[in-house]
């Protein structure tokens, strides 16, 4: 036997070793990276629960913020304010978004206007929230010469529109066309078909989309900085006055130099995250139930 095949077999063996070593190294790297990512993740959630829970008490939900130096106090007005702002935003943003989604799915098939609206919605989705704040400031606050709940609601509403639009469109696209044809074939006008058949069939998915949009803006701070502005007192009804919001209050307390306020900030953060988690979990339950029961 000549020595050549031996050497090449040797080479082959080495190559084989290298291949398997690379394979193992990459696998190990992936595992290590995942662990590395899980650490800050668990750290954030864990620390939030630890700090937040230890600072939380009944007064947090029932009292107004205490002045500097005084013990206690809560964020009752901020929780209510967030509720009002989000309600306002949903009232404006969700119908608009659903309408645009209905247009995209039921009326705009293959039209250039449809593609343009779809693309604009995607672009709007990527606009930084602080820019929404500036826009709402310039449109409403600058004109009225005062901060207001209304301007904050508008800024949040604009942020909800693209998410709601796109999920509405996607969910309506899952409604089988024969179902629409069945309704039209019965002599039901198109508007009634859209409302009572298409939207109704897609409603679980659309509700999911609205909840996601809601959860997304619930934690927004930047667009509220110079619109809703914040308020140390109750404002439950006057849309023309500044209003407190939970994320804003967390921000203000976090950058303050007082330990008491830091504790309240942690408690507020926990409450905020739990509220968002509840929304997201409801979404998961809806989503798991499936868009269409039965059928094919």
């Amino acid at each position: 036997m000549s020595p050549l095949p031996v050497r090449s077999r040797h080479l082959e063996r080495l190559l084989e070793l290298r291949r398997s070593a690379t394979n193992h190294a990459v696998t190990a790297l992936a595992v290590v990276s995942t662990v590395l990512v899980l650490v800050p993740l668990v750290a954030i959630v864990g620390y939030l629960i630890y700090k937040g829970a230890s600072s939380l008490n009944l007064a947090f939900f029932t009292h107004l913020p205490a002045p500097v130096g005084e013990k206690g106090g809560g964020m009752a007005n901020a929780i209510a304010g967030s509720g009002l702002l989000l309600g306002l935003a949903s009232l404006m943003g969700i119908p608009l978004g659903i309408g645009a989604g209905v247009y995209l799915s039921e009326y705009a098939h293959g039209t250039w206007l449809g593609s343009a609206v779809r693309f604009t919605a995607d672009v709007l989705n990527g606009v930084p929230s602080i820019v929404m704040g500036i826009a709402a400031y310039a449109l409403i606050v600058a004109r009225q010469q005062h901060f207001s709940a209304l301007s904050g609601g508008v800024a949040l509403a604009i942020m909800m529109v693209p998410t709601v639009t796109r999920t509405t469109e996607e969910m309506l696209a899952t409604v089988p066309n024969p179902v629409r044809e069945a309704a039209l074939g019965l002599g039901i006008p198109k508007w009634r078909t859209v409302l009572s058949v298409s939207l109704r069939t897609a409603s679980p998915g659309i509700i999911t989309g609205c909840m996601l949009a809601f959860a997304r803006v619930a934690g927004e701070t930047a667009p509220l900085l110079f619109t809703a502005f914040g308020n140390q007192f109750w404002n439950l009804f006057n849309l023309n006055q500044p209003i407190a919001a939970l994320p804003l209050q967390i921000y203000v307390y976090a950058i303050s130099p007082y330990d008491d306020w830091h504790r309240l900030a942690w408690a507020g953060a926990l409450v905020l995250v739990v509220m968002i988690m509840i929304a997201v979990t409801l979404v998961r339950i809806f989503a798991n139930r499936g868009v269409l029961k039965g059928g094919h």
């Binding site: 098939h109 293959g110 089988p176 024969p178 179902v179 629409r180 044809e181 069945a182 309704a183 039209l184 074939g185 019965l186 002599g187 039901i188 006008p189 009634r192 078909t193 009572s196 058949v197 109704r200 069939t201 409603s203 269409l292 029961k293 039965g294 059928g295």
Partner: protein, 252 residues
Amino acid sequence: MGVDIRVENLNAWYGAVHTLHDVNLRIPANHATALIGPSGCGKSTFVRCLNRMHETNPAARAEGKVMMGDVDIFKDATPVEIRRRVGMVFQRPNPFPTMSIYDNVASGLKLNGFRNKRVLDEVVERSLRQAALWDEVKDDLKKKSGASISGGQQQRLCIARALAVDPEVLLMDEPASALDPVSTAKIEDLIFKLKSQYTIVIVTHNMQQAARVAENTGFFLMGKLVEFAATTKIFTNPSDKRTEDYITGRFG
């Protein structure tokens, strides 16, 4: 009560494709008329033109005259008005998945604003009985969704839904093509019973089915109505060579 349908010079296009060429025929009232032909021959397009369903596709276009009784469906009425008089049953069962069986049957009335509950109850029962489904579903009318019953039951539910609006014409686009033989037999039975009350037009690729249920049969080929005559004549003594080739199984 059914009405007769007179079609004069009906042409249809899908985009740039000319799918129906100068179709002329007279469909008699209160009888079943079958349309046969190989796939893609234009028979489905033809029935969709009869209740202007083709208009739901922006690319489709039709020209010509269709008289339903004394109404010119393209001139004298809107699509919605025509479809209220002309029921349609589709290839695949398409019940409304989020509605109960009851609501499915009542949908044509309810969604058009009909509110009288007593009459609705009666109409639902009558329609389900006409569609031979009543005994199978009467206990879960409002409990079960329209999508939760079997495929054959779903198709009969769709027939009941179409009958509930008391149409004059019933169009059926291959109503049994997605069903098993037992369900198919039930549907055919149904057509047989219904045809004295409604003008029924049934598209089918199944020649035996045409022979079993229809008095008259039309044969479509490449967008043209080749022959239209009594079913017995079409199947025993067709006057066109192409019809003969098709029914003797030489193509299609």
